[in-house]
Amino acid sequence: MAGIEVTALHKRYPDGTVAVDHVDLSIGDGELFVMLGPSGCGKTTTLRAIAGLERQTTGDIRIGDTLVNDLPPAERDIAMVFQFYALYPHLRTRDNLAFPLRAEGLPKSEVHKRVEEAARLMRLGPLMDRRPRRLSGGEQQRVALARALVRRPRAFLMDEPLTNLDAELRADMRTEIKHLQGQLGTTMVYVTHDQVEAMSLGHRIAILNKGRVEQIGTPLEVYDRPASLFCAEFIGSPPMNLIEVEVVDGKLHSKGGLVLTPPPGLPRDRSLVAGVRPEALEVTEPGAEGSVPARVVSAEGLGDEVIYVVDHGGQRDVRVRMPPTVRFATDASVGLRHSGGTPAVYDVHTEDLVA
C-alpha cells in the first residue's frame, strides 16, 4: 500500500488539446480519493497517467516512494477496473482472475489460494466457470473487481466502474466498493462524473474542470463551501442557488429583497453572487416574518421532500427544498425566507470564492 503524489501533471495531445493542465494531487496511503468532473475534464487522463497507460507531457507521478514516470503499467504495482469491465472474453471467470497472477509467474498453489480468496470476498462462487458473455453487467463488474483484488496491488484505480450498471445495482455496488476499500485499507483512486457517487464514496473529492483542479476537499467541505461557481453548480442535486447580490449597509441584498448575512472580509466594488443551498431557504405563507414575496413556478414532489422552484425578484430558478408536509400550489404567491447560515459568496467575473 502506498500514497500517490502527482506533481504538476500536464498532458498535451499531438493535436494540441490540453487534457490535463498542471494538476497536483496528494493522495494519502489508504485513502479513497475521488476525481469528479464532467466528461472531458481530464479526470480519466489523469487516472490513465497514474496507471501508465498514458504518458504525461510533463510532471511527476510517485507511487509510494517510487517515481513511476518511466515504468510500464505492469511494474507500477497497481490494479485498474474499467467502465467496460475488460474481462478477457475467451476466459472463464476462474481464469480471468488467475490471469494477472500467472502473468506475474506466481506458483500454482499461491494463484489458487488468492483466486479463491478474492472469489469468496466478492461472492463469485457460482460464477467461477462461466465466460464473461454469460454474466450480467453487475456480475461482470464484480469479477472485474475480484480481478483487481487478486494482485494485492499498492493502489486501485477505478475508471467509472459503475456507469454501465442500472441504478439499483449501482447503489449496491457502491456500498460494496466502499466496504471493500475500508476492509482492505488499500489506496483507491476513483474516477466518476456522478456527484452522488463521489459524495457517498470519497474520503476526499477533487473536482476537475477543463484539465484543472477546481477544489479538493472532504465531501462536506466541497458541499458547504464550493471553491468556485463551477463546483457550486456541479455538486448537489438540485444544485446550489446562485443569487446576484449587492452589499448595502454591511448586508447582502438580492434584487428580490432577500437579505443575507455577509461572510467576513468581503471586498467592495465587485459583482457578487451568493451561493445558497436549496435547504437553506424556506417557502412560507406570503408576508410571514422575515420573508420576501415570491411566486411558485413549479413543485416537484419527490415523496420524502418537495423541491419548489420559485420566482424571486425576476430570477425564475430559485430552488427550495421543503418537507412534504408543506404544500403550495403552482403559481401561488408565497414568501421566501433564508434560514441558513452565512452563504458562500463568489465573484461573477473570476468565478472564484471571495469569502
Partner: protein, 303 residues
C-alpha cells in the same frame, strides 16, 4: 420501391387503424414482389447459367441455331482444354490461373499484414493530423485506377517491374491497403481499448496486448476485408493487361479475354475458363460467409 411509396402514404394525416399499405397489401403485393424479383433474378443469373451451360456443351451444340437450352450433349473437354494444352503439356491458361492465385493471394496477404496494424494504430493512438492522414489515404481511392495506368506504366518501365508478378502484386497491394485500413479501422473501433489496457496492466507490452487480445476479436473483420481485397485483385483487368505481356506472367482475366479476338472464337473454352475463374472466389466467400455477414453488419451496430 413499392415499400417506400406505401410508407409515404401511410405517413399521411389519415387517422386510420389499418394503414393503407395493409389494405392494398397481402396477396396481390406478394405476387408482384415475387414476379419482380424473379425477373431480376433471371436477368442477373441467365448469363451465369449460359456460361455454365456453354462450358459443358459439345462444340456443335454451342454454335447450334436455334440455341439448345436442354437437349445438348454433355462434355468436359473444354475443362480439359483449360488445363492441358493440345500438345499434351500444361496449357497457357493453367499458367495464367496459377499466376492469378499467386498475385491475388500475395497482394491480399500483404494488404492485410500492412493494413490491419495501421488501422489499429489509427484507431488507438492520438496522432498529429490524424483525420487529414486518413483522408489522404482514402483520397487515393477517389479516382478510377485506370487514370494512373500510363504513369504507372512509365514508372514500372524505368525500374524494370514491367511484365513481372512482383509489379502486379505491388500495385494491387497499393490499391488494397487504403481499403483495408478504412474497413479495419471500423472494426478496431468496435473492440474496446480496455482489453489492451487491462492486458498492459497485467504485464504485456502494447504489441503483445494487440496480438493476444485484440487481434483474435478482429478475425471476422479481417476475413471480410480480405475477401473484398482478394476479389479486387482476382478480378483486376486493366493493370494486368497493361503491365504484363508474356504468357508466363499474365493473370487469368487478360488471358481469358485474349481467347476472344482470333478468326474463330472457341466459346466452349472461354466459358469453361470463365467458370474455373469464378469458382475460387465463390468457394472462398462461401467458406468465410459467416465472418462475412458478421463483418459487414458488425460496424453497423453501436454499443
Amino acid at each position: 420501391m413499392a415499400v417506400s411509396v406505401d410508407d409515404a402514404v401511410s405517413a399521411g394525416p389519415v387517422r386510420d387503424h389499418t394503414p393503407p399499405a395493409r389494405r392494398f397489401g397481402g396477396r396481390g403485393r406478394a405476387v408482384l414482389e415475387v414476379a419482380l424479383l424473379t425477373v431480376l433474378a433471371v436477368v442477373m443469373l441467365f448469363p451465369v447459367l449460359w456460361m455454365v451451360e456453354t462450358s459443358i456443351k459439345e462444340n456443335r451444340d454451342v454454335y447450334a441455331i436455334p440455341a439448345k437450352f436442354f437437349d445438348f450433349k454433355v462434355t468436359v473437354d473444354h475443362f480439359k482444354d483449360v488445363f492441358v494444352s493440345s500438345s499434351g503439356g500444361r496449357s497457357g491458361l493453367s499458367v495464367s490461373f496459377l499466376n492469378s492465385v499467386v498475385v491475388a493471394g500475395v497482394s491480399t496477404v500483404l494488404a492485410t499484414v500492412l493494413g490491419v496494424p495501421a488501422a489499429w494504430a489509427y484507431s488507438r493512438f492520438a496522432l498529429k493530423a490524424k483525420k487529414d492522414q486518413l483522408f489522404f489515404i482514402l483520397s487515393t481511392r477517389f479516382m478510377p485506377p485506370v487514370v494512373v495506368v500510363i504513369p504507372i506504366f512509365l514508372m514500372y518501365r524505368q525500374v524494370g517491374l514491367i511484365d513481372t508478378q512482383l509489379g502486379l502484386i505491388l500495385i494491387y497491394t497499393a490499391f488494397n491497403v487504403p481499403f483495408t485500413i478504412w474497413m479495419m479501422k471500423g472494426f478496431v473501433d468496435e473492440v474496446p481499448a480496455e482489453y489492451e489496457d487491462a492486458a498492459m496492466l497485467d504485464g504485456y507490452t502494447r504489441l503483445q496486448a494487440f496480438w493476444k487480445f485484440t487481434l483474435p476479436l478482429l478475425v471476422p473483420g479481417i476475413a471480410a476485408t480480405a475477401v473484398f481485397a482478394l476479389i479486387f485483385s482476382w478480378n483486376e483487368f486493366v493493370f494486368a493487361i497493361f503491365l504484363t505481356s508474356s504468357d508466363d506472367v499474365r493473370t487469368a482475366p487478360p488471358a481469358i479475354a485474349g481467347l476472344i479476338g482470333g478468326t474463330t472464337v472457341d466459346w466452349g473454352l472461354v466459358a469453361a475458363s470463365s467458370v474455373v475463374f469464378a469458382v475460387p472466389v465463390l468457394v472462398f466467400a462461401y467458406l468465410v460467409r459467416r465472418h462475412l455477414v458478421a463483418g459487414v453488419t458488425l460496424g453497423a451496430v453501436r454499443r
